[in-house]
Structure formats: C-alpha cells, structure tokens
Amino acid sequence: MSPLESISERLGITEPWVEKGGVHWLTPGAKSVREVAQAMNEFHARFVTITAYQLPGDQGFRLEYHWDLNGQLLGFPFQLAGNSIESIYDLCEATDWIEREIHEGFVIDFVGREYEPLLLRQGDTPGVNLREEKK
C-alpha cells in the first residue's frame, strides 16, 4: 500500500487522491481539519502552509491545507460556509503564523486559540487587505 493510500485508510476516506496543479488532493468530506492534522502528524508529514480563497457571492471561503510527505505535496481543501474553522495550532506548531496571517487578511477565525498581531500594527483593521467586501 502506498503512503497516500495509507493516509486515506487512516482517515477512512474512500474518495481517491487526485493529482492536479502540482498537488495530490484528497477531499476530506466529513473529516475535520483536526482529524487530518492528527493523521498528518502520525505519518510524519511536514506542514507547509494554508492558502485561503474567498469564494464568489455568499459561498464563504476555501482553505487549502498543505503538507509535504517525502517530496509529495498533499492538499486538503476545506470549504467554510461562515467565517470560522478549528485551529490546529495545538497539534501543529508550524501553523501559528499562517493562521494569524489569514485571520488578519480575511477575518477568518481559527477557533480554540488566541492571537497576537502578526503583520498588522496597532489601529489597523483586519480584512482590509485581502477580503473583498460584498457589494
């Protein structure tokens, strides 16, 4: 069994991995980001980053979580209907700054952690940089 198949089995996901745009994607379905992060820790995958996208209209946001496993870039997309998702900072220390940056750029709340300002200065408003206001 390949490492990617082992990850699918560990997470109980039957959907196949899809290689697209330089990334091996696995749709997590009902699995939470914390379950994925725990599995990645068990497989000794290295956290790379989270990329946030604001979706059109009222569709919310998509967060793409990336880990590296022996040179393969893995991607797990999570769609947010609202403005929040569970933080994985306590499971993966490396997510600290990127969670803070996304919070400041898109006003997405990573539930279960406290923030200190990262890029913003005193008096700055979160969300003015990357978040589009709905017309």
Binding site: G22, R46, V48, A94, L118, L130
Partner: protein, 360 residues
C-alpha cells in the same frame, strides 16, 4: 529578577526591521517574542490587480536577494495552468540562474555572519566574492538585482557563451575553496563564536516545520531539488549537505558546503547546456481556470506559490506566497532561549532571514 529587552524594529544588530522582545535573567535570554510586519507591502493583494505579464515583474520584487526564485516559482505555477512546458535549454538556464542566486545569497550571508562574529576581514572577502557572482549574473541577464529572466514557457535571455561563464564560475569556485570554505570550516574564530549557540534540535525543527539550510543544519535532509526535482535538477548530480548539531556553526557549515555543491551543479549545467529554443513559440496561450501550485528550493529553503485564475480574466484571482523565512523565523524563539544576550544578533542572522520576503 527578569526584565524585558526590546531589540528592533530598527537596531544595528538587525539587517532589516523586525522586533524581538526578549525576557532576560541577567545576560541569559529566557524567552522571546517576535514581531514582524514592518515591511508589509500588501503584494499578494497588489498581484490581483496585475495581468499575467505584470504579475511576474511584481513578484520579482518580493525579495531583493532571491528575486529570480520568485519568478521561477510563479512561472512554473502559471505553466501548470497554461499547459506550456519550457524547452530543455530554458530549464538548464533556470538551473544556472537559481544556483548563481544561491551562491550570491550564501556568500552575502557569510559576509554578514562574519561581520556579526567580529571577523571584519572575512566580511570584506565575502563581499568581494559576492561582487564577482553578481558580475556573472549581470553578464547573463544584464541586471544585478532583478534579472527578469523567467517568463511563462521559458526564459527571456540566452546564455550565448557558456565557456566564458564557466571560466568565471571556476575562478569563483577556486577563490571560495581557497578563502571562504577553509576559514568557515576550520577557523578557531568561527568555531568559538558559533559552536553550541542557537541550537535548534531536530525534534523542534520538525515541529516548527523549518526548511532549507536551517532544517539541514538540524539533521533533516530535505531539499526539493532532490525530493521533487524541477527545471533540470533531475539531470544534475549533487550532494545535500546535512549537519546534525543544529547550532549556528552547523548552519555555517551547511551553507559553506552548499556553495561548493552549487559550483558543482553550475559546472554540469554549463557543460551540458542543450541546444535549442529558450522559450515556447507563439505569444498566445490559453489560461485554464483553476489553481496551480509550485515549489522551489530557494537559497533559504522552500518557496511555494499558489495561483488561481478565473475564466476569461487577465489578472490572477489569488497569488499566495509562502516564503522560507516565514517558515523558519518562528523557530528563533527556541534558538535564543538560554542564549547569551550578546549572541542573539548572530543567532538571528544564522537563519539568513529575509524580512522583506516574510512581510511581502
């Protein structure tokens, strides 16, 4: 009694603005907090207002040292969306530019580290060598900082006289082997100032997700040129230097050895430079709607670009950049714990931080 010492955002011990608030007991640092954002330019947002040509020029300005790497990573991601594959010669030229940039970055860093060690003659030697690397970059690209070499589907300029560039690289290699490498690997000054300080254990390096020379100096043999080859790296023979100690000296040794490996790659790439075109023919290409990602091993470690295009749009919907310093910098907190206050500038410099990249 503990007290707080702020270092920065503007401080002689820092190359660029950022802030380190250190909690000290006497001369010993107990803990530290980092504050960044003093160079924040909103480049990711600005990228959404540029078309697919302009965005390359914009992202080249994310960093003043590894500017070529940013356009290489971005162009590779955009090539993923357009379906274009650069010709073999372009891939080799990309390798040559990337390794020259690594030499430039590592020698510049070595000079700054030497200055912080109190080793001024070494600083002068490194900067003289750096000028020679920049002369080679200028000979190829016509530029010394932003080279404008990469385009979607290849490179903008050819290397018309590889033997002449090879002669310059061999002269550089000989000079580095005579001066920089022995001094950094054997000198008692370098050893006494660097050994055992700013230690980042392998366990902590893993949990922090550090990349590049900092990871390799903590015993992690990760290098995208080997693990996920891009451009023409799968055709190059080279070693990935790894040191187990995780201290400043290990980072010094890794970079010194990488200088020699870069020269080895450059000799191969220049000798085997294939004939042919340097970019794909035709000016028009379709953009496929969707997202694409690319990663490259920059001098400081892994750079990752995610780009997204909406159908029919000339501008990207999103350009996300994860720079190596963004991944490495939080680990400074662990490196300075237990260190002497006087060692903290050198410890910070030992990660070769790029604040401009980090803030974007």
């Amino acid at each position: 009694m503990s007290y707080k010492i702020p270092m920065g955002p503007y401080h002689p011990g820092l190359e660029e603005p950022y802030k380190l608030d250190m909690i000290c007991e006497g001369e010993t640092v107990q803990d530290a907090k980092l504050r960044i954002g003093f160079n924040f330019r909103g480049i990711e947002h600005l990228a959404e207002t540029r078309n697919y040509i302009q965005v390359i020029a914009l992202m080249e300005r994310v960093c003043g040292i590894c500017s070529n790497i940013h356009t290489l990573t971005l162009c590779q991601a955009m090539e993923g969306l357009t379906g274009l594959t650069p010709p073999p010669r372009a891939k080799y030229i990309r390798v040559i530019m990337a390794e020259l940039e690594r030499l430039h970055s590592h020698v510049l860093w070595a000079g700054i580290a030497a200055k912080l060690m109190g080793f001024k003659t070494m600083f002068m030697t490194c900067f003289e060598l750096r000028e020679k690397v920049m002369d080679v970059l200028q000979a190829i690209s016509g530029n010394r900082v932003n080279y404008s070499m990469n385009r979607i589907g290849g490179v903008n300029r050819d290397i018309t006289d590889p033997p002449a560039i090879l002669a310059l690289v061999e002269a550089l290699e000989a000079e580095m082997a005579r001066t920089v490498i022995p001094i950094f690997t054997t000198s008692s000054t370098a050893r006494s100032r660097c050994a055992g300080i700013g230690v980042l254990t392998m366990e902590r390096a893993i949990s922090c997700g550090v990349v590049g020379p900092v990871a390799r100096a903590s015993g992690l043999p990760q290098d995208l040129r080997r693990a996920a080859p891009y451009a023409a790296y799968d055709e190059m023979e080279f070693d990935v230097p790894v040191q187990p100690d995780g201290d400043v000296r290990a980072r010094l040794l890794v970079r010194a050895l990488e200088i020699m490996e870069s020269c080895k790659i450059l000799r191969q790439a220049l000798a085997k430079l294939p004939p042919g075109e340097i970019h794909t023919e035709g000016e028009k290409f379709p953009f496929i709607t969707g997202t694409a990602t690319s990663r490259v091993e920059a001098p400081r470690g892994e750079v990752m670009y995610s780009v997204s295009w909406k159908e029919g749009s000339r501008n990207p919907a999103r350009v996300h950049v994860r720079t190596p310093t963004f991944a490495v910098m939080p680990a400074i907190r662990w490196m300075v714990q237990g260190a002497r206050l006087a060692d903290t500038p050198l410890i910070q410099a030992s990660i070769d931080p790029c604040y401009s990249c980090t803030d974007r």
